[in-house]
Each structure stands twice: as structure tokens, then as C-alpha cells.
Symmetry: D2
Subunit: 135 residues, 4 copies
């Protein structure tokens, strides 16, 4: 048994026996969505595209390290911010401007999740868009 | 239909049709576990029990506000910290001292989750301990 | 020389020789103001007074551990939040609702700082209200 | 009077009259040092240079937006991390691996600050290296 396999087996023993691949993929994806929001909310941003794209890329690359995360795409919308004209004129990452697409995969299950601000709910909703299970 | 019910129905439309109560309970619990870690890691702590219990209580109360979270219990272990004797001698919340028990509930499913530092994995493992589904 | 004294002397060697007590008190207070904001922004809150006062107290107690911080007072204003009526109806700590009073002291200097949302600047301003120096 | 100038004058009124350019430069730099640490501590990292340099760059670019910050340089040391071999094998930003150089400037004062882990203090020390004042 490879070292990786062995390690994963050991971690698995902490989970209830009833926990399926589908449960795990959802669990790991949910953790990472919550992590992204609460790690990066409050980070300063401006309309400068090089600032925002550097941050988007950093979030994608660092949060893809989380266990069983296959893909992370981040978009920060600065369209409603004004152009900086004085030292206090910048914004910050928050529920209204942060969008995330995330794919988690565990064993035979792959889950597609999203987060974005939903005006009709007035809330940055995190949701499961699709669950795929190999038979 | 009550306003709450109506609101929840609207949010539900964003989720894939295949998403079950069990999936939702796992998803919402996972989000909150990830949120707790990444919100509070780095917070200063000391061996003073009034400091630590104030923080534990604040994490429990604030993170219980997250959707579909029924219970949150937090324990921060300061036993390996020294007694403060100089201005730089304090610690911070991190994967090695933070333990969380969490129960999420959505519709007919209730999920028990935990997070604590697992020495054999050298990792603060988040895991699903038990899933209950009413029939 | 006491252990505390010795330790502080060692830390002091890293600072430029031109750095005065006044400079240090300002520096340490500024660090803690920035720390408070970026540590706790994004934390869920509701109108429930027991939730908010638990969080205020936790911020005060933990952030008072930072070096040379004599006093921290935190107020989170939830007056503009609605009463919770559905699972997504809660708020979060942010620049618009967080107020902080902080006193730092180093040697002969004591500095009074504040942070609160200033409508005319549309910004959560951090500022130095008063500097006292013993002669 | 330009809009920027006007805005800065308005913000300045909140500060005590005794607050000098030097005080302000120190204050603003301290805020940003505290902000960097508490915003990014806990972010996942690995030995992969593209991950770490993306994060370093994002911290530099976003935190340079803070008022009166002239330059931010960030280095995250991953030399003591192992190469990833299983899903839980990654690290996170913390006091032991994060180094920051920062220059703040207000009016006639420019201040050079640093943060890095000091083994003899067993602490990620933030300090003022040099203060320059134009006469």
C-alpha cells in the first residue's frame, strides 16, 4: 500500500462507517467554501485589475491545496467601486463581490459547488449545483 | 406559507434537484467547520481561563447563527502554554489547540461533526462522526 | 534584572535607536487596531444581545493580550439589523458596525486610539485621539 | 483644494492636534502590519513555488492599498515543509514562516518596519527599523 493510501485509510477511520464517497465530497467542498469566505473577507481591494487578479489567483491556488479539492475559481467584482482618488478610497472582499466555483472529488463522487451574492435573498449563498457519482 | 418557509424554498431552488436533506446537512455543517477555523485562527490567547472561556463562548454563539447549525461546542486547550511573564508571552488559536463539536440539521437529517488535532496524522482533522436520518 | 525586563530589552534591540516610547506606544496600538479589524471582520452576528456581548467581550479579552495594550473596549452596533426570521437572516462584523477604543502604554507614553465608521468619510476610520507623555 | 487634499484634511480632524507626521506614519504602518498577520494567518500553503509566490504577491498588492503605505514586501518560507505526498500534507501561513518589510509615509515622515520570526524571542516580532524625517 502506498504511503498516501495508507495515510488516507488512517484518516478515514475517524469518520462514521455510514459516510459515503458522496458525503465526503460534499463535506470537504463545504469546508473549503466556508474557509475561503472567512479567510479572505476583509482583504483590501481596488479597481486596479492587477490587484484583483493577483488576489483571485492566490485564493484559487492556496485553497486548491485543501483536501479533495479538484478545482477552485474565484471572481471578485469591483465594478461598483469608484476609481481610487484618496488614501481611504478602496474596498474590501465581502459577500457582495466574491464569487466562487469549486469542484470537490472523493472516491467515486464529484460535487460542483458555487457561492455568489443572490440579490433576492440579500445573501452570499453557498450551494451545491450538481453531484456526480460513478457507478 | 410562512415567510421563513417561503425564503427557504427560494434558496433551495439554487441547489441541484438531486441534493437530499442528508447532503444539505453535511454541506452546511462542513461550511461552518471551515468557517470557524479560518475565522478564528490567529486570535491571541493565554492560560487565563476567563480569556479562553470568553473566546470559546463567543465562537459557539456566533457560529451557531450559521444556517442549519443546531449546536456548536468549542474547546481551546492552553495546557501546553506557559504562564505569561513578559509582554510577548501569549499564544494564538491554531490547529493544535482548537477542538470543535458541531451538529447540523436539515429537514430529516442530522449530522454530528468534529474537529480536533490528530497526532498520528499531524493534522487538525475535520470529520463526520455520525449521520442520522428520520425515516 | 527580572526575566521580563531582560526579555523586553532583547526585543528592543531590534528597534532603531531613534524609536522613542511615544513611537512604540503608537506602533503597538496601531498593530492591535489593524489586528482586531482583520481578525474579526466576517464573524456572524445577530440582534441577540447575548451573542453580541459575548463577542465584544471575547475581542476585548483576547486583544488585550497583545503587547503593551492597556485597555480595549469594543462595541458592535446591531441596531440596523432586522430580527432573525429565517436561516439566512443574520449579519456579520464589518467596518460599519464595529467600534473600538484602545489604550496602549509603553514606558512613559500612553496613547488613546479609536476606530469607528465615519459617515462623512464613508470609512471605518482608525485614529489617535490623544497622546500623553510623562515628563 | 483638490478632492484628495480636502478628504485628507477632513480625516485629519479626528486626530489629536499633538499628532505629528511621524506619529501618523508609525500609526498607519503598525495598522497594516497587524492587518497582514491577522488577515492571512491560516491560509493554506505548500512547497510549490507558484502557490507561495502567488500568495506573496497578492498580500503585497492588496495590503499596499492601505492608507499611507508606500511599499510592502512579503516572504513566506516553506523550506521546512515536506513535499506534498497525501491530501492532508500542506501547511499554513503563520508567525514562523511569514516575513514582511513595509514602508509607510505620511507628510514629511517615512518609516521602515519589519516583521519576522525571532528564534531568541520565540515570537514573530514586529518592529520599527528606521524613521526618516525631512527637515
Amino acid at each position: 500500500m502506498s504511503k498516501t493510501k495508507e495515510f488516507e485509510e488512517r484518516a478515514k477511520r475517524y469518520f462514521g462507517k455510514e459516510v459515503t464517497d458522496r458525503d465526503r465530497a460534499i463535506f470537504e467542498g463545504g469546508i473549503t467554501l466556508g474557509a475561503i469566505y472567512h479567510q479572505f473577507v476583509g482583504t483590501p481591494i481596488s479597481r486596479d485589475a492587477t490587484v484583483v487578479s493577483a488576489l483571485e489567483k492566490a485564493i484559487e491556488k492556496t485553497m486548491s491545496l485543501q483536501p479533495y479539492i479538484e478545482r477552485v475559481e474565484v471572481k471578485i467584482d469591483t465594478s461598483e467601486m469608484r476609481q481610487s482618488s484618496h488614501p481611504y478610497d478602496y474596498g474590501e472582499v465581502g459577500g457582495r463581490n466574491l464569487s466562487v466555483k469549486l469542484v470537490s472529488k472523493y472516491g467515486k463522487a464529484r460535487v460542483y459547488m458555487k457561492m455568489f451574492f443572490v440579490p433576492e435573498l440579500n445573501y452570499p449563498l453557498m450551494f451545491i449545483e450538481k453531484i456526480e457519482e460513478e457507478s
